[in-house]
C-alpha cells in the first residue's frame, strides 16, 4: 500500500504544479515508511521539503501555503504526534473558508500513519480519529487497500477543503495488489461494500477490514451472510450505504480499532437508531479497542478487535 501512496503523490505532482509535499523526513529519506520515496529526486527540493521538526510548523505553514495558491500534502510522522498541529487544524485550517465567507480556503491534505499492530514504540500506534471527526469543516479519510489508498489520496488532494488522510500502518506492507497509475480518483464521502450478505451488516475501516473480512468468511462457513462495509470516509459518514444495508440485514455490527467511548462507531449507531430503528431486529453491537491507552506492543493484539470478537458480536445479533 505504501507504494500506491507514493504513486498517487507522483501522479498528482506531475499533473498539478501547485501540489507540494512537506513533512519530517519526506525528502532524501522518502518518509519513515517510504510513502514519499523518490519524490524529492523527481520534483526537487522546493516541491518536496523536509520541514523543521515541529508539527505546529507543518500544519501552520500548510495553512499559509494553501491560502496562497498551493496544495500542500503534509505528512505528520505518526498520528500520535499530531497534537501540536491541532491548534492550527481546529482554529484555522478547517474554518478559514467559513470565517472569511469563502474568500480564503485551505486545500490541504494531512497524511498520518494510523493504528497499531506493527510492534512500534510508545505513541506510534494511535487511532484517535474520533477527535478529528468532531471537528467541523474537516474530512477524515482512511483507506483499507492499496487501490483505495491511491484513488482516495488523489481525491483528497483534489478536494478544495482540508482532508485528514489516515494510513493504517499495518497495511503499508502487509497488503499488496496491482494498482493502475491512471490518475483516477475514487469518491470521497462514500463507503465501499467489500462483500455482500443478507444476514448481518458489519461496518469497519482501516486495518480492521482484515479481521472483519476473515470474520465474514468464518460466518459464511456457518451459513451466515455478512455484508462488509468499508466506511473509508469517516467524516462525513455515507449514511445511505449503511442504512440500505441495515434495511436488508436488520442487524449491525461496528468494528474499529479505536477506543469505544464517543468513537466513530457511536456516531454510526446513533445514525442507524435515528433513521432505521425499526429495521433493526437485534441491538447494535460494537467491537472496538478498549477505553484505555493503546498498550505497548506486547499487549497490542489484545487491544485490537480480533476475528473471534467480531464473529461473536455478529452471532449475538443473530441470537446464536
Amino acid at each position: 500500500m505504501v507504494e500506491a501512496i507514493a504513486m498517487a503523490h507522483g501522479w498528482e505532482m506531475q499533473h498539478d504544479a501547485s501540489v507540494v509535499v512537506i513533512g519530517q523526513d519526506v525528502g532524501a529519506n522518502g518518509g519513515v515508511f517510504r510513502a514519499t520515496a523518490g519524490l524529492q529526486e523527481r520534483f526537487g527540493k522546493q516541491r518536496v521539503q523536509d520541514t523543521p521538526l515541529a508539527e505546529a510548523t507543518i500544519a501552520g505553514m500548510a495553512v499559509g501555503m494553501a491560502t496562497h495558491g498551493l496544495k500542500p500534502v503534509a505528512e505528520i510522522q505518526f498520528m500520535g504526534f499530531m497534537y501540536p498541529a491541532l491548534d492550527q487544524i481546529v482554529n484555522h485550517m478547517t474554518r478559514m473558508r467559513y470565517r472569511t465567507r469563502g474568500r480564503l480556503s485551505c486545500p490541504v491534505v494531512m497524511r498520518m500513519p494510523h493504528g497499531g499492530g506493527i510492534h512500534a514504540p510508545e505513541h506510534h500506534s494511535e487511532s484517535t480519529e474520533a477527535m478529528l471527526c468532531h471537528i467541523p469543516g474537516l474530512r477524515v479519510v482512511c483507506p483499507s487497500s492499496p487501490a483505495r489508498a491511491y484513488g482516495l489520496l488523489l481525491a483528497a488532494i483534489r478536494n478544495p477543503d482540508p482532508v485528514i488522510f489516515l494510513e493504517p500502518v499495518r497495511l503499508y506492507r502487509a497488503m499488496r495488489q496491482e494498482v493502475q497509475d491512471d490518475g483516477r480518483a475514487l469518491p470521497l464521502d462514500a463507503s465501499f461494500v467489500l462483500r455482500e450478505g443478507s444476514d448481518v451488516t458489519i461496518v469497519t475501516w482501516g486495518a480492521t477490514t482484515l479481521e472483519t473480512l476473515r470474520a465474514a468468511a468464518e460466518l459464511d462457513a456457518r451459513g451466515i451472510g455478512a455484508e462488509v462495509i468499508d466506511l473509508a470516509t469517516l467524516s462525513p459518514i455515507d449514511s445511505e450505504t449503511i442504512l440500505e444495508s441495515v434495511a436488508k440485514t436488520g442487524r449491525l455490527v461496528i468494528a474499529h480499532e479505536a477506543a469505544r467511548n464517543a468513537g466513530v462507531g457511536a456516531e454510526i449507531a446513533a445514525l442507524v437508531c435515528e433513521h432505521a430503528l425499526y429495521d433493526l431486529e437485534a441491538p447494535i453491537q460494537r467491537v472496538t479497542g478498549y477505553d484505555t491507552v493503546m498498550p505497548l506492543f506486547k499487549l497490542e493484539l489484545d487491544y485490537m478487535p480480533s476475528v473471534r470478537r467480531i464473529v461473536d458480536a455478529a452471532l449475538l445479533t443473530l441470537e446464536l
Partner: protein, 361 residues
C-alpha cells in the same frame, strides 16, 4: 544606531580527541577512582547498547534507539546530577539513566513493549522516556517550579535533541524557565541529525546554545564527546540552579554513530565519509588514550572491563527474557487511581478474549 544587546557563545573542551588535555582539569577529574568510574560507565553503556541492537535484530526487542556515540554526554550529565535531582530524558539517554540507577532490564522491558519498564526501582522521581518531541522540557520546568515553591535545593535536568529545538514546547520551556528563574538545566544533545534532517536544515542559527539567549538564559556549547567538559559545564549549571541563580542551557556537540533507531537506515541519507570521520572523535577512544597515558589503565584492564560489562548485560538480558508476560488486566491497571465501572466490564471482555501473547494462558 545603539547596540542594545550582544551575546557570545563559548565552546568548552577539556580533553581533545587524541586524549590530550587542552584546558585545566576540573576538580572531579583529579581523582583516578572517579576517572575510572566514568570510563567504566561509558563502556557499560556502549556494551549494553550493542546488545540491545542485537536483541532487536534477532527479534527479541522492539524498535530501539541506539545511544552509540553519546556516552560522554550521558555520563557527564549523570555524574553532574545529584541523586535527588530530577531527570526528564528524551528516549535515548540510557547512559545517564544507568548512572542514576535505572536497570538494564527495565530499559529492555520497556523497549520490549511492556509498560513495567517505566516503573523504575531506582530513581523513583525521574520522568520516564519521552517519545513525543520536546514536551519533556516543560515537565522539567514544572518540576523545577515545585522545587522553587518548596524551597528545595534541587534541580531538574531536561534532555532534548537538536531536532527538538524546533518545537514550540522547547521555546516555551526556555521562556518559562528564564522568566521565573527556575532551577532547571536544558541539555541539548546535538548529534547532527534529526532522523534524516541535518542541523543546518533545521535552523539558521549558528549554534543551538544561543537559543537560550532570547529567553534570558545563559547558553554554552561543549564538546559532547568529552566527558570532562560535559560534567564540568553541567555541574556548574546544576550548582547554580540549586543555589537559586536560575536556569542554563548546555549544547553538547556529539554525533549519532548509529541509525536513528533500528527501524531507520541512515545510509539512505547520510554521507558514509561523515560517519567514518566521526569515529575518530568518539568519546571512549579519547578517554582510553588519556587513561593509558596516565598509566591508570592497561589492555588487560580493558579486557577485564569488557568481560564484566558483557556478563552484567547478559544477566540483564536473562532477567528481561524471563519476565513473565503481563495479563490483559495490565491494559486497565493504573489508568485511573480507581477503575470506573464501565472499564471493569471492558476488562472482563479483554480477559475473555485474551490472546496467547498475554499472561492469561
Amino acid at each position: 544606531m545603539t547596540i542594545v544587546a550582544e551575546f557570545t557563545i563559548r565552546y568548552r573542551r577539556i580533553l581533545d580527541p587524541n586524549g590530550q588535555l587542552v584546558a585545566p582539569l576540573p576538580e572531579f577529574a583529579q581523582h583516578s577512582a572517579e576517572l575510572l568510574r566514568m570510563y567504566r560507565a561509558m563502556t557499560q553503556a556502549r556494551v549494553f547498547d550493542a546488545k540491545a541492537v542485537n536483541l532487536q535484530r534477532t527479534g527479541q526487542l522492539g524498535t530501539y534507539p541506539s545511544c552509540l556515540g553519546h556516552e560522554a554526554t550521558h555520563i557527564g550529565v549523570g555524574a553532574a546530577m545529584n541523586p535527588d535531582d530530577v531527570l526528564a530524558p528524551v528516549y535515548r539517554e540510557f547512559g545517564t539513566q544507568l548512572w542514576r540507577g535505572v536497570s538494564m532490564a527495565e530499559i529492555l522491558v520497556y523497549w520490549g513493549g511492556d509498560e513495567r519498564g517505566s516503573d523504575f526501582a531506582g530513581p523513583r522521581q525521574d520522568f520516564a522516556w519521552c517519545v513525543p518531541i520536546a514536551t519533556q522540557t516543560l515537565h522539567a520546568a514544572g518540576a523545577a517550579m515545585a522545587f522553587k515553591i518548596r524551597g528545595e535545593r534541587r534541580c531538574a535536568v531536561a534532555y532534548i535533541g537538536d531536532g527538538g529545538t524546533s518545537e514550540g514546547a522547547f521555546y516555551e520551556a526556555l521562556n518559562l524557565a528564564g522568566a521565573r528563574a527556575l532551577p532547571v538545566v536544558f541539555v541539548v544533545v546535538n548529534n547532527g541529525w534529526a532522523i534524516s534532517v541535518p542541523v543546518a536544515e533545521q535552523t539558521a542559527a549558528q549554534t543551538l546554545a544561543q537559543k537560550a539567549v532570547a529567553a534570558g538564559i545563559p547558553g554554552v556549547q561543549v564538546d559532547g564527546n568529552d566527558v570532562f567538559a560535559v560534567r564540568a559545564a553541567v555541574g556548574e549549571a546544576v550548582e547554580a540552579a540549586r543555589r537559586g541563580a536560575g536556569p542554563a542551557l548546555i549544547e553538547a556537540l556529539t554525533y549519532r554513530l548509529s541509525d536513528h533507531t533500528t527501524s531507520d537506515d541512515a545510509s539512505r541519507y547520510r554521507p558514509a565519509a561523515e560517519l567514518r570521520a566521526a569515529w575518530a572523535t568518539e568519546p571512549l577512544l579519547r578517554m582510553r588514550r588519556y587513561l593509558l597515558e596516565l598509566r591508570l589503565w592497561t589492555e588487560a584492564d580493558e579486557q577485564e572491563l569488557q568481560r564484566q560489562c558483557a556478563a552484567e548485560v547478559e544477566a540483564a538480558v536473562s532477567a528481561y527474557l524471563a519476565t513473565p508476560a503481563q495479563s490483559t488486566d495490565a491494559m486497565f491497571d493504573h489508568l485511573f487511581a480507581e477503575l470506573p465501572a464501565h472499564l471493569r466490564a471492558q476488562r472482563a471482555t479483554a480477559r475473555k478474549y485474551a490472546t496467547k501473547s498475554s499472561g492469561h494462558h
